[in-house]
């Protein structure tokens, strides 16, 4: 029971770091609302990479993701006077970004081009996974990683837009179920069910790469 509570607590409620982040963001937002336009640059620098990563993993194209991330910050800046602090700033910003990505995907659903960024091999967890997968590999490692990247992207693109968004926000950005529910404007139960279903599909698609 305690374990369940702990897991639920981790996924449902925002972490203390995120709460602290939200409080400090609110101070900056108030400065921007008061007329300190330069303060918005702090928010851009703080969130640009995470926002870009979310959009990039949703649409699978780095050029479009860069454009959409820029558009998201411009929209947020134009509407910042309407932001009343009821939710965290990053939730609000992510909502704008996710909506922009969803609009882009709907608009270009018949014509999609993928262009992927390189895997950062300095990232410890990713490097460990790649090492585990390539331990018995005789062929070129880089080619294998590139192929794995493409398979991962393919599997993600096979998910519906909503399932892909949930997976991206939970697995890639590390948001809680509650925060995802706020961003996607749905219930926590819906988030959990989408996540479960999406993982099942991904597991089926990526079976050759899974080692038990």
């Amino acid at each position: 029971m305690n374990i369940t509570k702990a897991i639920l607590g981790k996924t449902l409620v925002a972490s203390p770091e995120r709460q602290h982040e939200a409080d400090s963001d609110w101070v900056v937002v108030q400065r921007v609302q008061a007329g300190d336009v330069a303060a918005f640059d702090d928010l851009i620098r703080k969130y640009r990479e995470r926002l870009y990563a979310i959009i990039y993993n949703m649409i699978g194209n780095r050029e479009d993701a860069a454009d959409l991330a820029q558009d998201t910050f411009i929209k947020a800046f134009q509407s910042i006077k309407r932001f009343s602090g009821e939710s965290a700033f990053f939730t609000w910003l992510y909502r704008i970004g996710v909506n922009a990505a969803l609009g882009h995907l709907r608009k270009h659903r018949l014509r999609q081009f993928f262009s992927l960024d390189k895997v950062d091999e300095d990232n410890q967890p990713a490097a460990e996974v790649i090492a585990a997968l390539t331990v018995d590999l005789t062929a070129d490692r880089d080619t294998y990683v590139k192929e794995l990247q493409e398979k991962l992207n393919e599997a993600l693109q096979k998910l519906s837009i909503k399932h892909r968004t949930v997976v991206t926000l939970f697995e890639i950005d590390g948001m809680s179920h509650q925060q995802i529910a706020e961003v996607m404007n749905c219930s926590v139960g819906t988030v959990r069910s989408r996540l479960h279903y999406a993982k099942q599909l991904l597991q089926a698609e990526l079976q050759p790469y899974i080692r038990r």
Partner: protein, 253 residues
């Protein structure tokens, strides 16, 4: 790098590789430059009027445009149909139709009333003799317009020998025949705008005088007005009054 080669790889582990996909460091410098340019463009560029004046909740309805549009079309159709039914059960068309039929009835009556005795060339024709009895009975059955009914009532009355100008009598037959109209479809009974206008102008021009007297002078005046009220002729004559030749513009009165 210290990793266990025997480690299991789960779907979450694979997604960590996705998390590690990042653009190079120089990408952000370029990205920031582009963002600045876009920000400046956004400041300079005027925002569309609907983003300023239309409230947010109205703009959110855009995603419901199909059901809202369908509902609007349905509502418009319903209102239009209801208005049309009200109009058809109500009066304006029938009133104008009645006015027209009155006028045409008077016209037909006028065609059998005695003309002025001063006319030189007249032919005496007894319409009672020319019009067979059964034809009159058929006419009574088939007639639908009240104006024509009035005409027929007048015809049914004891007929007097009348004098009709020779110009009105066809030389080949020397007969006067009364046209009877077959029953019409309801939609064809609706008077055209031209007829309505003609009837209204006629009523205004005659001022009720014509209905009360059987003066032939008045009948002629009415005929003249009626013939001149033909719109096509009216506009054609208007166009003919203007003329250009060389550097001159001529205007005929």
């Amino acid at each position: 790098m210290s990793h266990d080669p025997k480690k299991t790889v789960t779907i979450e582990d694979l997604l960590r590789i996705k998390r590690a996909e990042r653009p190079p460091a120089e990408f952000w410098a370029q990205w920031e430059r582009e963002l600045r340019a876009k920000q400046l463009a956004a400041i300079v560029e005027e925002r569309p009027w609907w983003q300023i004046h239309v409230p947010v909740y109205v703009r959110r309805m855009v995603k419901w445009q199909l059901p809202v549009g369908a509902a609007a079309v349905m509502a418009l159709t319903f209102v239009t149909l209801r208005d049309y039914q009200d109009q058809s059960t109500h009066d304006p068309v029938l009133v104008t139709e009645e006015a027209i039929s009155n006028v045409t009835g008077q016209q037909s009556l006028a065609s059998v009333t005695p003309s002025a005795p001063t006319l030189s060339a007249v032919a005496s024709v007894s319409t009672a003799a020319v019009l067979p009895q059964e034809t009159r009975a058929d006419t009574q059955e088939t007639t639908a317009t009240p104006g024509l009914e009035k005409t027929l009532v007048a015809i049914d009355a004891p007929m007097q020998p009348v004098e009709i100008p020779a110009a009105f009598i066809q030389p080949s037959t020397q007969d006067v025949t009364l046209r009877t109209e077959p029953p019409k479809e309801p939609l064809t009974r609706i008077a055209s705008a031209k007829d309505v206008r003609r009837a209204r102008l006629l009523d205004g021009a005659m001022g009720g005088r014509y209905g009360s007297t059987g003066n032939a002078e008045v009948a002629r005046t009415r005929d003249r007005i009626a013939s001149r009220l033909n719109e096509d002729r009216f506009y054609a004559s208007d166009a003919g009054r203007l003329g250009t030749s060389g550097d001159r513009l001529s205007l005929r009165f």
